[in-house]
């Protein structure tokens, strides 16, 4: 019995973390965030590490790893607020394509040459102004806050959880970037006027699996980002002096840090189990994915606020860049279902609603 990461997974974590710390520094994150450079270069580098193909079978040019491995990577990416299309192109899209038996795009995705964005808003719960209608092989309407503003294709879900693939350059498709607080990842709107769509799947389980994995990865991303904010807080508190003491010696500051640890530490196990369930305990996967997403949304929000407070005025400035983590956690909270909606899904899954 072993509950935790394997030696291979720890190695994967260490290597990824080391790479990101060295090659995708905060300075580089800033460049992407301020549009001085695009995230495409980073994605190409991550492709060299095999990350886009992490979950794609080896026969399709991928690495063929599982959900827990992906969660390990997601945590690293969150820790370093790395700009990337990981959630959509390395996890949600490939998983859906594989489950739907649509293999032809996988090799290009694994190579980092093709990115597939995710437009699940309609199935999760369309917001005011959004909405699509499907007629035969064509889709019209509007998808909002679609993951990845620079993808080559998009997977669109309708209210019945059917999945469709549309090309970004399809006739009748307009795409516009939607700026959010989180500048480390991009979202867009798709305005569709009778756009040709390929029906990928009519099996709700395909959609579910993709969404569950996406939510677990978001949770892991938040875990990483929150852990980084905690680590940064402890380092800062140990060097910052006020009243002739490092502020880390004030009980109020210590207890703020202890609260962060205490709330975060069990999250790690929750995410590990949820990822494990995807591959090994499928009957529990949906519930665990909901809980991972909702619980990390709440803990992440608290940690993000507390860590900023520990940093005092510095935390509020752009100087230390702490806000990139704050906003990333904020975005993870809302995308793919805000916590209230996801908890209601958890109740439904158990027959309680």
């Amino acid at each position: 019995m072993e509950f935790g990461l394997s030696q291979e997974q720890i190695l994967l974590q260490d290597m990824t973390s080391k790479y990101l710390a060295e090659q995708v520094s905060l300075a580089r994150v800033r460049e992407v965030a301020t549009n001085e450079s695009s995230n495409a270069a980073i994605w190409r580098e991550l492709a060299e590490l095999g990350i886009p193909g992490l979950m794609i079978p080896e026969v399709n040019g991928g690495v063929g790893l599982g959900a827990l491995d992906a969660a390990v990577i997601a945590e690293c990416l969150g820790y370093h607020v790395t700009p990337s299309a990981f959630l959509s192109s390395a996890v949600m899209a490939p998983v859906a394509l594989i489950a739907a038996g649509k293999d032809d795009l996988l090799a290009a995705i694994a190579a980092g040459e093709r990115r597939v964005g995710i437009a699940f808003g309609e199935a999760i719960g369309a917001r005011r102004g959004a909405g699509i209608t499907v007629s035969g092989n064509s889709i019209s309407g509007k998808c909002l806050f679609v993951l990845d503003a620079e993808a080559d294709d998009y997977l669109i879900a309708d209210t019945d959880k059917n999945l469709y693939l549309v090309a970004a350059d399809a006739t009748g498709l307009q795409r516009a970037n939607l700026t959010t607080v989180d500048k480390t990842r991009t979202t867009c709107e798709l305005i569709l006027d009778q756009v040709a769509a390929e029906l990928m799947s009519t099996d709700p389980e395909v959609y579910n699996r993709s969404l569950d994995l996406g939510r677990i990865m978001q949770a892991a991303d938040t875990l990483g980002a929150a852990q980084s904010m905690l680590d940064q807080s402890v380092v800062y508190a140990k060097q910052r002096e006020q009243f002739n003491r490092v502020i880390a010696s004030f009980q109020a500051v210590k207890h703020m840090c202890a609260d962060m640890v205490a709330n975060l530490e069990p999250c790690r196990s929750l995410i590990w189990y949820a990822a494990h369930a995807i591959d090994e305990v499928p009957e529990e996967a949906r519930l665990m994915a909901c809980h991972a997403k909702a619980h990390l949304s709440e803990v992440g929000k608290e940690v993000a606020k507390t860590a900023t407070e520990v940093h005092g005025g510095m935390g509020f400035t752009d100087l230390v860049g702490l806000h990139y983590w704050f906003k990333r956690i904020g975005a993870n909270r809302q995308l793919l279902g805000s916590p209230e909606l996801v908890r209601e899904e958890a109740a439904k899954i158990q027959g309680l609603a």
């Binding site: 709107e189 407070e309 005025g313 809302q334």
Partner: protein, 395 residues
């Protein structure tokens, strides 16, 4: 309990309304016959709607202080959404200090030009190394002949680019204890040796600046109070600042905003207001907003009724008010879900993107002007008489 302001103020309110009716078309705007901001300011002062209690000799209206009149003025301007004139840190913070502690010459020289909007000020208090522990500030001023030579750095200086002058805390007596070694200087921002760097914050705006001083030479007499008295001067001002950070009226108006959002935003076609979980959160926040509104009425009442104590009602406003606003803005974001992430040029922002902006800005206010931790120290020590922590000596 009597919530009317009293019949004696009915006439006064009428007077204010008449003034507004008559002049509101002239308030500064892009209209052709609108006044300039400086003309408008002068009109307001001449009629007693600005700088009302500042003596005539210093350019004010010279009325006796009457808190109820001030409130009526504020209410009527707010109701009609009329420009209330200039409002910088010079007017709100420096002028009260000069009136109390400035020399006659300083009063003559600075008050009129400040309240008339001809002289804009910025504040130089906080430093990178002196935040919660402001009194440990290290920007120093050394007397060289008839001039102070100032070296060091300030931070959190708003409107530094626009300011003509700065009022600034500097260490002049390095051998005195930390609270006794500070002086309060005034100087021209065009003096050589001053560099201003905009300080971008998490909202993406540069609401503040860093200001660097390198051998900045300031005439010796540009000091308020005596050498080493600067801390006492500054504390008089800090008292003025704290109350203004968490207005319950603004909270009420934002609450109405969230309610409107909940009535217009939908999830899969269902209005958010029809979702009981969000409705419950809205009601819980409304209860807290109401409590702070009435807490504010109690404070106001204790100011106009001598002998009526407001207990610790004032001490808790900054702590509770800023946290409440932060949570209120957060509720709105949750109500909008992914749409709530919209920012800057995103066409789906609601209410001008103010929800995300203020969610972050209020986190800044939780920290700024005395962090929540400092507020709790103050409440427990000054409010409850609990002992200070054991002191640690300087190394």
């Amino acid at each position: 309990m009597d919530l009317s302001l009293g019949s004696e103020y009915t006439d006064f309110r009428e007077e204010v309304r008449n003034f507004l009716e008559q002049h509101k078309t002239r308030q500064p705007s892009t209209n052709s016959d609108s006044m300039t901001a400086i003309e408008w300011q002068k009109l307001l002062i001449d009629n007693g709607y600005k700088s009302r209690t500042i003596p005539k000799e210093y350019g004010g209206f010279g009325a006796d202080p009457d808190i109820i009149q001030s409130r009526i003025i504020a209410e009527e301007f707010s109701r009609e959404r009329i420009n209330t004139g200039f409002d910088g840190q010079g007017i709100s913070m420096l002028v009260p200090v000069l009136l109390e502690m400035g020399s006659e010459e300083q009063k003559q020289q600075f008050i009129k030009s400040t309240i008339h909007g001809e002289m804009v000020w910025c504040q130089g208090y906080s430093e990178p190394g002196a935040g919660s522990d402001l009194a440990s500030l290290s920007t120093k001023a050394v007397l060289d002949g008839d001039e102070w030579v100032v070296n060091g750095q300030k931070i959190w200086t708003s409107t530094a680019q626009l300011a003509d002058w700065i009022f600034c805390l500097v260490r002049t007596e390095p051998k005195a204890s930390k609270h006794q070694g500070i002086s309060f200087l005034l100087f021209d921002m065009k003096t050589p040796g001053i560099e201003i760097r905009p300080l971008v914050d998490m909202t993406g705006s540069a609401n503040f600046n860093e200001v660097f001083f390198t051998d900045v030479r300031v005439p010796k007499d540009q000091i308020v109070g005596k050498r080493g008295q600067g801390w006492q001067v500054a504390n008089a001002i800090l008292g003025h600042e704290r109350g203004s950070l968490a207005s319950p009226d603004a909270a009420k108006s934002r609450l109405e905003g969230v309610t409107r959002l909940m009535q217009s935003e939908t999830i899969a076609g269902e209005k958010v207001i029809d979702n009981p979980v969000f409705r419950d959160r809205l009601m819980a926040i409304q209860g807290r907003v109401l409590a702070m509104q009435f807490n504010d009425m109690r404070l106001f009442s204790s100011r106009i009724n001598k002998g009526q104590s407001a207990g610790m009602a004032g001490m808790i406003v900054k702590l509770i008010g800023t946290e409440l606003r932060h949570e209120l803005e957060a509720l709105a974001i949750d109500v909008m879900g992914e749409v709530g992430l919209s920012y800057e040029d995103n066409p789906y922002t609601r209410d001008g993107g103010s929800w995300q902006y203020l969610y972050m800005y209020y986190l800044g206010l939780i920290i700024g002007g005395g962090t929540s931790q400092i507020q709790k120290n103050i409440i427990s020590e000054r409010g409850l008489g609990m002992p200070k922590e054991p002191k640690v000596d300087a190394k």
